[in-house]
């Protein structure tokens, strides 16, 4: 802390508050939070899928397979690095970066914990809070689509091209119900700032998933289904369908560039889950904040967490996030893949009318209040 103070004096408070302090937070977020989370999410996925299929999953590297991510990274790093001779070189190289970078940038507006003003401390437990945060999330999530299409196109492989085309149609189609479903929590909260939406749920004493005659639940359902489709996960993993397209848009990718696609997919899963937690599940707030019997949920009886709210908030956020990520993996272990015409039908003929009705219903609910 003293070191930070002297650094602040050195570079001046303005530069410190707007560039150095965020940079430190970002570094911690990425290297302590997101990257380890992604590596172990992959392990967790393999383990959980293993258990669901009555296997053990990875169990050779380290105790209980816990060092598997390290081995994976080392392996990917020393893999032969192939760019197909017929590929469009620059696009082939840029594509995976276009998937990862937007997914990362979205984390800058996710409220992992309370603001400084709410804890009485001097530290915001998020990188920044802008008043159009939700719009920013939607915009950035869209950029990721380009990476996948570009990757499929640039490879000049038939499998990749088909995968890329499927990705284009699918992600574009499911973006509509997803965008619409975000309108419902917006209506309920009356603000686009993610920190504001979390606060609105706290003030209304209700998570938005339970708000407004069950309409919140419908919106949540639509958002999550569309989110699974946006991340190309089962049962909507047609762009990379292993059994027919041989990994689809990243057939030609090897080594680190393949790892980046992988990283992007998992980062996107975390983003979708984090936004869902923020919009529908009360963000970093504990469940039942005012119920007497649930008082122990504030976790103040754990000595390390006694500085109020801050770390507790992050803990609750992570718990809810983990629940979501488990559901993703659960989906993969449970559902067979959709056929492409069924996929488009679900998006265009079911989700869109449903979400329009939900918006209408929420408007009526708002007016009757």
């Amino acid at each position: 802390m003293a070191m930070l103070e002297s650094l602040r004096d050195l570079v001046g408070p303005a530069v410190f508050d707007h560039a150095v302090s965020p940079l430190i937070k970002i570094a911690v977020l990425i290297f302590v939070g997101i990257l380890p989370l992604i590596s172990y999410l992959v392990l967790a996925e393999r383990k959980i899928l293993g258990f669901m299929q009555v296997r053990l999953g990875p169990n050779r590297v380290g105790p209980w397979g816990l060092l598997q991510p390290v081995a994976d990274i080392a392996k990917l790093l020393v893999k032969q690095d192939i760019i197909p001779s017929t590929a469009i070189r620059w696009a082939f190289i840029v594509a995976p970066c276009l998937v990862v970078a937007p997914a990362f940038v979205i984390f800058s507006v996710i409220p992992f914990g309370p603001a400084a003003s709410q804890t009485g401390g001097s530290l915001d437990y998020f990188v920044t809070d802008v008043n159009v945060a939700l719009l920013f999330v939607v915009a950035m999530a869209t950029v990721g689509v380009y990476g996948i299409i570009l990757g499929g196109w640039a490879s000049n492989s038939k499998f990749s091209l088909l995968g890329g085309l499927r990705a284009a149609a699918q992600m574009v189609s499911y973006e509509i119900p997803q965008g619409f479903s975000l309108v419902i929590p917006l209506l309920m909260a009356g603000t686009m700032s993610l920190q504001g939406i979390v606060q609105a749920q706290f003030e209304q004493q209700r998570w938005f998933i339970f708000q407004g005659w069950g309409l919140g639940l419908v919106a949540f359902f639509i958002y999550f289904v569309a989110g699974v489709a946006e991340t190309n996960r089962n049962p909507f993993d047609l762009p990379e369908a292993e059994s027919e397209l041989v990994a689809g848009f990243h057939t030609e990718y090897t080594g680190m560039r393949f790892a980046l696609f992988f990283l992007g997919e998992y980062a996107n899963m975390i983003v979708i889950s984090a936004v869902a937690v923020t919009l529908f599940l009360g963000g970093w707030h504990q469940p039942f904040p005012n119920a007497g019997w649930a008082g122990f949920l504030d976790l103040q009886w754990i000595p390390v967490l006694t500085p109020p709210l801050g770390l507790v908030g992050i803990l609750w956020f992570s718990t809810k996030l983990a629940a979501f990520l488990f559901v993703y993996i659960w989906f993969r272990g449970t559902f067979p893949r959709y056929r492409f015409d069924q996929l488009m039908e679900l998006g265009w003929k079911w989700l869109i009318p449903l979400v329009l009705l939900t918006i209408f219903g929420t408007g009526v609910w708002k007016i009757l209040q």
């Binding site: 970066c97 970078a101 920044t128 939700l134 041989v246």
Partner: protein, 124 residues
């Protein structure tokens, strides 16, 4: 405006991270000499189930059914942009705003139903 600065920092950070990762991968990967024999044959070709590729993807014309989907998407996505500020300002706009939005949506839904009737949403 200064709230947006950390986002820019984050974007730069991500780009640096990506560049460092790819450069590191370049350093660690096996040298070209080791795989020269493989490269000379079909290792550098796009995947074709192990056979030498006769043609490549860009040689062909694929039937893209996505043209209509793309057009419809643009219409709906623009609508989303209209809905966002409307939702935020709902309290201030009141019933007037609600009715206005219903009128707007009905116009759009008419187009949607028309597209549905014409079979634009059918894939097969």
């Amino acid at each position: 405006m200064e709230n947006y600065l950390p986002i820019l920092v984050f974007a730069l950070f991500s780009i640096v991270f990506l560049v460092v990762t790819l450069v590191a991968a370049r350093l660690f990967r096996p040298g070209g000499a080791l795989f020269k024999g493989a490269s000379a044959t079909i290792n550098d070709d796009p995947y074709e189930c192990g056979n030498p590729a006769e043609t490549f993807a860009h040689d062909h014309r694929f039937s893209i059914r996505y043209y209509l989907i793309a057009v419809l998407f643009v219409v709906f996505d623009v609508e989303t942009i209209f809905l966002f500020p409307w939702a935020v300002q709902f309290d201030r706009l009141g019933i007037f705003g609600f009715v206005e939005m219903i009128v707007f949506l009905v116009i759009l839904i008419v187009g949607y139903v028309y597209a549905w009737q014409r079979g634009a949403l059918n894939w097969a």
